[in-house]
Assembly symmetry: C2
Homo-oligomer: 343 residues x 2
Amino acid sequence: MLTERQRMILNAIVDDYISSAEPIGSRSISKRGDVGYSPATIRNEMADLEELGYLEQPHTSAGRIPSHKGYRYYVDHLVPWNSAGTAEMGTIRAFFAEKLNATEQVIQHAAMILSNMTNYTSILLGPEVFHTSLRHFQLLPLDGNNAVAIIVTSTGQVENRTVQIPPEISLSEMEKVVNLLNSKLVNVPLYKLKSQLYSELGEEMQRHISHYEELMQVLDQALESDHDQRIYLSGAANMLTQPEFKDVDKVKTILDLLEETPTLLKMLSPVSGGTGIQVRIGTENKHEAFAHCSLITATYSLDGKALGSIGILGPTRMEYARVMGILGILSRDLTAMLAHWYK
Amino acid sequence: MLTERQRMILNAIVDDYISSAEPIGSRSISKRGDVGYSPATIRNEMADLEELGYLEQPHTSAGRIPSHKGYRYYVDHLVPWNSAGTAEMGTIRAFFAEKLNATEQVIQHAAMILSNMTNYTSILLGPEVFHTSLRHFQLLPLDGNNAVAIIVTSTGQVENRTVQIPPEISLSEMEKVVNLLNSKLVNVPLYKLKSQLYSELGEEMQRHISHYEELMQVLDQALESDHDQRIYLSGAANMLTQPEFKDVDKVKTILDLLEETPTLLKMLSPVSGGTGIQVRIGTENKHEAFAHCSLITATYSLDGKALGSIGILGPTRMEYARVMGILGILSRDLTAMLAHWYK
DNA sequence: CGTTAGCACTCTACTCAGATGAGTGCTAAC
DNA sequence: GTTAGCACTCATCTGAGTAGAGTGCTAACG
């Protein structure tokens, strides 16, 4: 349990360190207007805070910097809430005023806005198709051998892939099957699509359709959902502006990781019970390369189900308050926009 | 005009510098098996080559490094052709053996393969829709107000966007118009789509359709081609491994530029008459940030028309021979694959 | 007893001179 | 035409000395 004065000092140290990136000495804290104590008193408290694990010293004769535990305490208890500035509110409002078609474009654009506003790296997770259902299915022949399969989801996303059509399947047959699919499988959740295809239509198709086996193979290909949510990254180069990453080798491992989509997917996928804004500080991220980074995430949702995430990656010495404020507003507004679009 | 010996020495210097990134001294050239001269002789030639502008000296007592002119001569006259190693051929072959659906995935995957193989940054330009034509158009209502417009091109690409439908337009009317479009505008090049919509269908529609104005607006939105070719980037972090970019500030300007899609589009769009492999060395790229970079590009095409580009960005001290070999093979195979798919 | 002034101590970062060595340019000899 | 030899240049490395920021401790103060 920290005393009020310790909290105040910890708060001051974290704030100052966030903006200066230099170890903070007792004198500079004492000189702040809001702390009415002499450097000596501050020093005593700092020694205590260090013993408790909230601060650390790069070396004996340097000032103190917050430890991970210190940041955690700051985020959990000290962050001044509601601190998205009016300028930022304006930018976000302007963003939503723009007319963008296709959810994908919105997310992509949001990634840019976020990284520009924060000067950190933004990582957004596109809407998950898992919770959406089939709106329309179509198989469009391109030439003798190939066709484009198009799946439109209930949220208006369009997935497409090319499939090969065995020559023995006739056009009319294909059409028949597609019509059957559209009449029977609309509104079925995408992840149930394949199983329902077999259970609901298998029998009927076997009766009416001649090349059952081959057709099923085609549909299998066509409905094979590439479950990968899309990752939208922006401002990766912003990492280079952080003084703690002025060493090329350190930043290389980070940027390398940022190109690994599966890793990012894992990091961003909403944690169980994780509602609202999540902050993962330093080693709380699973990856060693992110030991000196913090990731702040929020989710956007439709019908109360989390569809995707928006996240900001920066150094542990990050402007938590500002970023949390921005993410909070943006995620709320995104959710509102989706609800308005698709209801 | 360079003498045979000068060419040999220039070649040796460029080769050595490419692999070592250190200024090359006369002694080390002399010790190479293939040059049978003493350091003093080499030194004389080097002085001449410097006077001619092919070499430069970082400072008086250092070795020589190739100038832009030197690289240019190397690329134009000295590059050993056909130097894609067998290992690389294998990787490329394996890539084309994979079954990938959708052109987009192929390009994206190719970007990854390229950056992994070369350890440079790959920049690919997705297939241009400009030269493709309409295969199929569809307008799929989502709810009362919105619909998804889907355009399938002759190359099997699927473009989609959300449009708003004024309430006064009925479903049956929309269907009628879509059918009309599909019967009249199929095989029309995408870039002519909107003009033909007016010239060919305007009259007929005005007669048969009640809410002409509103419908036209919807179609306008739906056919508005986002002409942007897609950029696929991979291995941007590889820039950091280059010793010439160990300075964070320099590499920052480069990585920043790599996030500017329009700039990349401009850089990659095939130059007039540019057939085969193009090499832009240092300041030959328009952007100051790329003054110490070289960009090697090739194009892939369909029906003899260049559809898109594949490029590798690295330091001017780049393995030209290897990269040119790889790009040559990959672009040729991509072209072959597209021809095979869509003919 | 909590707070503060004073002081000795520690440790990094900076600077500067000297040493090192790679590499050149020039001259003279082969 | 080619090469050996040598003086010279200049970036890089090394180590000593210095400055300065900041601490911890002790003792005094209200």
